[in-house]
C-alpha cells in the first residue's frame, strides 16, 4: 500500500516523509540526533522518559519525538531553549533517583544515562537525592543476571523486552507514584520466578540496573593458577560480534584475532564450541532420523514429534516453565557448550594427558542463560562440573581491554586441535535457522547420498529475520537403507525470540501446525542477538552479524558437519557412533518441569 507523504520542517529544514513516521525518525533522516532512553527499535513505543522532547510550533507543551507522528506543515525544533532546558531538567531528575556510583558500576563507560549526563555537562547535583534502595542488596540470586534497583530509571525497556520479545513476563512495573518500580511477581528473587536468564533485558537496559553476573575475576584467578589447565571454548556468534566492543564496526569477523587475544590472555587450550556444534548435528540428526523411523516404520505412537532443538538454554528454561508437557519433544542432545565441557574433561583430558580435576573449562558465549546452564545439576557427566565459567562476549572484550591488548592490530591465529576444528555448518549455529540448515546439509546427504538441493549449499528459506519460518523438504531417490523416507515431505519450522517460540508451540498444541523438526533459539535473530552480545543491539546490527556468519560459512573449506575430520576422529577414537553408549552418557540429558507461576 502506498503511503501518503507528509511535508514538515525540522530545525527549519524541509523534509518529506511517509505518513505515520515519528518526529524522531524524520529528524534522523536529516541527521539531527535526538537523545532517547526509553525508546528501543525492537520494542513498542513508551514515550515515558521524556528525554526525546522537541518543540512543535503552536503546541503549548513539548512533544516526545519517539511517540509523536509527523503532520503536514509541522515545524519542529530539536534544540530550542525550551527543549534544552527541559531535557536537562529531565536528566537531572533521572540522576536524582539513580544511584550514580559510576566508578564502581559494571556499566561504567557504557551507560546511556552517563553519556547524556556528560553531554549535558551536569556537574553539581541540583536536586535532592531520592535513591531509596541504595542500601538494598542487589538481587544476585540468578547465576546469570544481577538486578540493582537503585540504578533503575524506570524506562521499562526491560519490561517490554520480557513480555513483547520473549513472552515471559518475569519483570513487571509495580506500584505507582513514588513507589513505582520494576520488579517480579511479589518481589521474589529472579531465581525463583519464570525468568529464562536470556539476558535480553540486559541488552536493552540503558544503565547498570540489569547486568550479567560477571565471572571475570574467577577466570583471571584460574589463568593465574599454575596448577590449573584452563581450556577455553568460543561460541559461533561471538566471532562476529566481539569486534564491536573493541573498535570494529558491526559485522566484522574477528575469529583469528579472538584466538590470538585468548592466547595472549593466557588460556592454555584455545578450542572451539563450533567443534561440538558439528558434533551436535551428528547426534541430533541421528536422533531425528531414529525418531522418524520409530514413527514411520515401527508406528510407535509414543515417539515425540516434532523434535525441538535443545541448543538454547533460554529456550530450555522457557519450555520447562511454560510447556513442560513438550519436554519429551526436546532433543536429548546437550547444547554444544555442554557437550564441549563433558568432552573436554574426558576425551581431551585423556588425549592431552591432563588431570580433569585440574582442568578449568571456560566458555565464551553470546548468552547469559549459558551461565545458568553451566551450573545445572544435570550437566556434570564428566564427573566434574562440565563447564566451570561462562563469560559473555562483553566480558571477554573487557578482559582483552584489561590486559592491554591492542585487539585491532592482532595477527590472526588458529585454534588448537583436537577440539578446535569446525565446518561452516557449525558457524551458522549462531544465526536463526543455522542449526536447521546444518542439520539438513548432513541429514539430506546421509539419506540420499547427494548434496541438499540448494545452490552452493545455501538453504535460503531457513535464513532471515522473520519471526517464524517454515519450509518443506521432499525426500526422493533415497538410499536403500533409508527407504522408509522415500517420498516423505519433511516439514520444518524455525523460531527465534521466545514470543515466536510460544506461537509455534501453541500452533502445534492446537493442531494448526504439523512439523517433524523445529529449531528454536531463545533470542531474536538467534545467538547473534544473544543477551550476552555487545550493546547496543538493533535489527540492523543483528542483520550485519548474521551476514558475517554466512560469509564466514561460505569462506570455509568444509561446510558440512559430518566432514569435520576432528569429529570423525572423535568417533573413531572415543565415542564409537552417534547415539552410541558413550555419547549417551556424555552428550545427552533430560530436563524437568518447572513451575509456571
Amino acid at each position: 500500500m502506498s503511503k501518503y507523504l507528509v511535508n514538515l520542517k525540522v530545525n527549519n529544514i524541509p523534509v518529506t516523509v511517509e505518513e505515520g513516521t515519528t518526529i524522531l525518525d524524520a529528524a534522523r533522516k536529516l541527521n539531527f540526533h535526538i537523545p532517547t532512553l526509553c525508546y528501543h527499535e525492537d520494542l513498542t513505543v513508551a514515550g515515558n522518559c521524556r528525554v526525546c522532547l522537541v518543540e512543535v510550533a503552536g503546541s503549548r507543551s513539548l512533544a516526545a519525538s519517539c511517540a509523536t507522528p509527523v503532520s503536514e506543515g509541522m515545524e519542529v525544533l530539536t534544540n530550542s531553549k525550551n527543549v534544552r532546558s527541559a531535557r536537562k531538567n529531565v536528566v537531572e531528575l533521572l540522576l536524582s533517583e539513580h544511584n550514580a556510583d559510576c566508578t564502581k558500576c559494571f556499566k561504567n563507560g557504557h551507560c546511556e544515562l552517563q553519556t547524556l549526563s556528560s553531554e549535558y555537562q551536569i556537574g553539581q547535583h541540583l536536586f535532592i537525592d531520592l535513591v531509596k534502595t541504595k542500601d538494598k542488596i542487589v538481587d544476585i540470586s540468578s547465576p546469570s543476571i544481577a538486578k540493582d534497583d537503585s540504578k533503575c530509571i524506570r524506562c521499562q525497556r526491560c519490561v517490554r523486552t520480557c513480555s513483547e520479545l520473549q513472552a515471559v513476563g518475569a519483570l513487571a512495573v509495580i506500584n505507582k507514584g513514588d513507589h513505582q518500580r520494576i520488579s517480579t511477581f511479589l518481589n521474589k528473587p529472579l531465581s525463583e520466578v519464570v525468568c529464562t536468564n536470556c539476558g535480553q533485558c540486559i541488552n536493552r537496559c540503558p544503565t547498570g540496573a540489569l547486568t550479567e553476573r560477571s565471572y571475570i575475576e574467577e577466570v583471571w584467578d584460574a589463568i593465574n593458577d599454575p596448577s590449573k589447565h584452563v581450556v577455553v571454548e568460543t561460541a559461533p556468534a561471538v566471532r562476529v560480534a566481539l569486534g564491536e566492543d573493541l573498535g570494529f564496526e558491526a559485522g566484522e569477523r574477528v575469529t583469528g584475532k579472538m584466538v590470538a587475544a585468548l592466547r595472549h590472555l593466557g588460556f592454555d587450550s584455545i578450542l572451539d564450541t563450533d567443534f561440538t556444534a558439528d558434533l551436535t548435528i551428528l547426534e541430533e540428526g541421528t536422533e531425528l532420523l531414529t525418531r522418524l523411523k520409530k514413527a514411520l516404520v515401527d508406528k510407535d505412537e509414543k515417539v515425540s514429534l516434532p523434535m525441538f532443538t535443545s541448543c538454547s538454554p533460554g529456550w530450555i528454561k522457557f519450555i520447562e516453565h511454560m510447556f513442560p508437557e513438550y519436554l519429551p519433544n526436546l532433543s536429548t542432545c546437550k547444547s554444544p557448550q555442554q557437550m564441549f565441557g563433558a568432552l573436554a574433561k574426558t576425551y581431551y583430558a585423556q588425549k592431552k594427558n591432563i588431570n580433569p580435576k585440574n582442568m578449568v573449562c571456560v566458555s565464551i558465549m553470546p548468552c547469559t542463560a549459558k551461565k545458568f546452564e553451566a551450573g545445572r545439576p544435570e550437566l556434570r557427566d564428566s564427573g566434574y562440573q562440565d563447564v566451570d565459567y561462562v563469560l559473555t562476549t562483553r566480558e571477554l572484550a573487557m578482559m582483552i581491554k584489561q590486559a592491554g591488548i591492542d585487539f585491532m592490530k592482532l595477527e590472526d591465529m588458529e585454534y588448537d586441535s583436537i577440539m578446535g576444528e569446525s565446518t561452516g555448518a557449525a558457524v551458522i549455529f549462531g544465526a536463526s535457522g543455522g542449526v536447521m540448515e546444518a542439520a539438513l546439509r548432513t541429514a539430506y546427504e546421509i539419506i540420499s547420498g547427494r548434496d541438499v538441493p540448494f545452490t552452493n549449499l545455501n538453504i535460503v528459506p531457513v535464513r532471515g529475520m522473520e519471526g517464524v519460518k517454515e519450509a518443506k523438504v521432499m525426500l526422493k531417490d533415497v538410499k536403500p537403507e533409508w527407504g522408509f523416507l522415500e517420498g516423505v515431505e519433511v516439514s520444518i519450522a524455525i523460531a527465534h525470540g521466545l514470543a515466536n517460540a510460544k506461537k509455534v508451540v501453541e500452533s502445534i498444541k492446537n493442531g494448526t501446525a504439523n512439523y517433524h523438526f523445529v529449531e528454536i533459539m531463545g533470542c531474536p535473530g538467534g545467538c547473534i542477538g544473544g543477551g550476552g552480545q555487545p550493546i547496543p543491539t538493533s535489527p540492523e546490527i543483528r542483520q550485519k552479524r548474521a551476514d558475517a556468519i554466512y560469509a564466514e560459512d561460505e569462506g570455509l573449506p568444509l561446510r558440512k558437519s559430518h566432514e569435520n575430520p576432528e569429529v570423525q576422529y572423535l568417533y573413531k577414537e572415543f565415542l564409537g557412533e552417534p547415539l552410541g553408549h558413550r555419547s549417551h552418557d556424555l552428550l545427552h540429558t533430560h530436563y524437568k518441569p518447572r513451575k509456571r507461576y
Binding site: 515471559v168 513487571a172 509495580i174 506500584n175 505507582k176 511477581f185 511479589l186 520466578v193 509456571r596 507461576y597
Partner: protein
C-alpha cells in the same frame, strides 16, 4: 480445589477470559477475601493467560487492590486537604487508640485494618472514612468510637 481457586474460576466464568475482565476479577477477589493472596494471583494469571508478575503489577497500581493480608474490616481515613483541615489527625488518633494499631496495621484478631486514603470525595463533610464500602462523613472522635464499637459488637456475635 481451594476456595480461592473456585472463586477465581467463578469470577472468570462470570466476566470472561479476556484481559478486560482483569479488574472485575481482582475486585471480586478483594471483595471476598479482602486482599489478593499469592495463590489468588497465580490462579488469575493462569485463567487469563497472563504472567503472574503482570497480574501483580496491575493490582499493585490500585490502592484498593491490596496484595498483603488485611483485616475483615478495612478502615480508610481520608487524609487529603479538606479532611486535614477538619481534623482527620484527631480521627486517626482516636482509631489508633481504640484499635491499638498504627496506620497501616491490622488488629491481632484480624478484625480491622487501619489505613489512610487520598480524597474520598466528601470534602464538604470531612473528616470522613470508609469502612469497607460504607462511608462515614462528618466524623468526631466520639462518633468514630461509636461506629467502630458497633463493628466490634457485630464481630463478636
Amino acid at each position: 480445589m481451594s476456595s480461592t481457586e473456585t472463586l477465581v474460576k467463578d469470577l472468570v466464568s462470570k466476566y470472561g477470559k479476556s484481559r478486560n475482565s482483569l479488574m472485575p476479577v481482582l475486585q471480586g477477589i478483594v471483595q471476598e477475601e479482602r486482599y489478593l493472596s499469592e495463590e489468588a494471583m497465580i490462579f488469575i494469571a493462569k485463567e487469563l493467560d497472563l504472567s503472574a508478575a503482570d497480574v501483580y503489577g496491575t493490582a499493585s497500581f490500585y490502592t484498593f487492590l491490596d496484595t498483603v493480608p488485611r483485616g475483615k474490616n478495612i478502615i480508610r481515613v481520608c487524609k487529603t486537604i479538606s479532611c486535614h483541615m477538619t481534623g482527620k489527625d484527631l480521627i486517626i488518633e482516636t482509631l489508633e487508640d481504640i484499635l491499638k494499631v498504627k496506620v497501616g496495621q491490622t488488629t491481632h484478631d484480624k478484625n480491622f485494618t487501619l489505613l489512610t486514603a487520598n480524597c474520598l470525595g466528601w470534602c464538604h463533610k470531612g473528616p470522613v472514612m470508609l469502612i469497607n464500602d460504607e462511608v462515614y462523613p462528618e466524623l468526631t472522635p466520639s462518633r468514630t468510637t461509636e461506629i467502630v464499637e458497633e463493628y466490634m459488637k457485630n464481630a463478636t456475635h
